[in-house]
Amino acid sequence: MNKTILIAKKELFRIFSDRKMIFSLYILPVIIVVAIYSIMGQLIGSMSKDIEEHNAVITVVNPTDELKDIISSSEMGKNADITFVTEDEYNSKKAEIEDGILNGDSDLIVYLDKDFGTVADSYVAGGDSLPSMKIYYNSTENYSSASYSNFGSEVVDTYKTTLLDSRYGDLSMLNAFNVDSQVICKEEKANMEFLAMMLPYMVVMMLFAGVMSVGVDAIAGEKERGTLSSMLISPVKRSEIVAGKLIAMAILSIISAVVYCVAMILSIPNITGGAGNMGAGNISFTVGQMLQLVAIMVVLVYFYVGVIGLIATLSPNTRAASSAISPIYIVIIILGMMTMFRTGGTNSIGSYFIPVYGSALAISDLCNLELTSVNFLASVLGTLACGIILTFVVAKAFNSEKLMFNA
């Protein structure tokens, strides 16, 4: 045990006394994370600014006087290019207007039933039937989608409130218990969604890169330089050497995991700040969630240490090790990306047992506040089990003179 600590100490010392190593292991990744997030923030920011500056093109069919008033007094009414048409005019140009929506020349069609005014009046007077309004927009067009949501919040909601107001009198009581909390929820959800998309990928990829830069040199590099041979000739048990090296690799990688996460969470405001109306909401993990995240990362690091330890042990030198690791790195990146573009739906528990992929799923769920404890356990146990098996294989490989001395 004593010797294991000595060997682990040696590995740690080797890294921390090397400025280049510290830079590539801890500083460079942080710079990359912050840069990626800032660039994405800029892009999203300029996109939403562009949408804000765009003058919406809207056609309103059968407008009531009240609606016209509301539109002209709203923010939209000042900037948007709004055409009011009657039912007959609309029918005669229907194809043309709808094409406009399709190809993006026009953003919104607001269609009020012919008898909207009458029905609305009778509703205000206490009638049962509701007036009906249809809104057509193109969800694949950013301008159109933005117009839809702006029109909804600035005009439709106001109109609705006006009608309800006239029917029931004072609505302040109704308003009192919903609006505020809803807005906050929305912002946090938006931030969390973004985090949910990026975090699994970042964690899965960056952790691997960290272990890779340390592990290859610690085993294959030492082999190449002959240090490992000399070490094996001393009466130190091989299992102690293996343990010392793997422990050091894990410690270094966990430090990098923490560094990345902190960098990532700190740079979230960059992106949400730039995103304008998404708002600079705050990401808040509870302590429990933090612990889960740490557990997932620690186990994942252990698995990576096993994978890279094994490859480095089987390879005669660092070059062979690096080239054997590259394809695995690509697989890891793909696994991380797969969770990035996951479209809803729940994954079966079996997929959480798959190392790396299961961890990425769990982190993604964690950010979406959807991680069940069963799935959490599955991801941790699956990865842990594979890590343990790999550790045994590495220890076994260390006992082969052929592998250790390239004889």
């Binding site: 040696k10 006394s17 002959g226 240090t227 000739i233 001393s234 130190v236 003179e401």
Partner: protein
């Protein structure tokens, strides 16, 4: 006592690197010499357990150790110093001694070991074993590690390699000192006349065969007489 029985070592393309070596080494200071490519390093690796002989047996103190791996042999008391000394970035001299002895040493013990290789413990004990040490210092530290282990069979592969004349002189003194103090067997692979001169026995390997073996005086005389031109040419180059 180490005994080699019919040791042969072949590589894939039917090349025989060691051919039927029979040898008994029983204490004292033994030098192995011979021309480049004669099989000296290979023989040393076979004894240490880094490579397995294709056929033959290795007996240490009556026990067959042919199938033991290097770490098991190390525990039985065989130590081996590679032809080129290695650096242990991140480990201090003290750490290395600790690894070799398998326990924490008192400063006195450390001091004794280091001074027997001509190093002052106070100056070196906390030095990191990295490129800042000179080649001669590294070599001495490596020898100190083997002394610290106090093994019954210590094998050095060309300990003089890469050592300047000054360091070489003190290295010779270290070996002479070792010869007087160490009870076990010391095997040194060397081309150097002065090292051969300190040996009790000399073994000559050529083209994978053991061509001569005996007390220093008889073998050494023959070597200088030029009976074996290959070895002699090699020796003269070095002298």
């Amino acid at each position: 006592m180490l005994e080699l029985k019919n040791i042969s070592y072949d590589v894939e393309d039917n090349k025989e690197i060691l051919k039927d070596i029979n040898l008994k080494i029983d204490g004292g200071f033994v030098a192995i010499t011979g021309p480049n490519g004669g099989g000296k390093s290979t023989l040393a690796k076979v004894i240490a357990g880094i490579i397995k002989p294709t056929s033959g047996q290795i007996i240490l103190d009556g026990e067959d150790i042919t199938d033991l791996n290097i770490t098991e042999r190390a525990k039985k008391g065989i130590s081996f110093a590679f032809q080129t000394p290695v650096k242990f970035k991140g480990l201090t001299v003290k750490d290395l001694l600790k690894l070799s002895m398998g326990k924490n040493a008192s400063f006195n013990e450390e001091c004794n070991i280091l001074s027997s290789v001509g190093l002052c413990a106070r100056d070196y004990i906390n030095r990191e074993v990295n490129a800042s040490l000179s080649g001669g210092e590294l070599k001495r530290i490596e020898i100190a590690m083997i002394l610290a282990r106090g093994t019954k069979l210590s094998i050095f592969d060309e300990p003089e390699a890469g050592i300047d004349l000054w360091s070489f002189n003190s290295l010779i003194k270290v070996f002479e000192h070792m010869r007087e103090t160490v009870k076990g067997t010391i095997v040194i692979i060397s081309h150097q006349e002065r090292i051969l001169n300190t040996a009790d026995r000399i073994i000559v390997l050529k083209e994978g065969r053991l061509i001569k073996e005996g007390a220093r005086d008889e073998i050494y005389g023959e070597l200088l007489d030029g009976v074996d031109s290959g070895v002699c040419n090699r020796l003269e180059e070095n002298i």
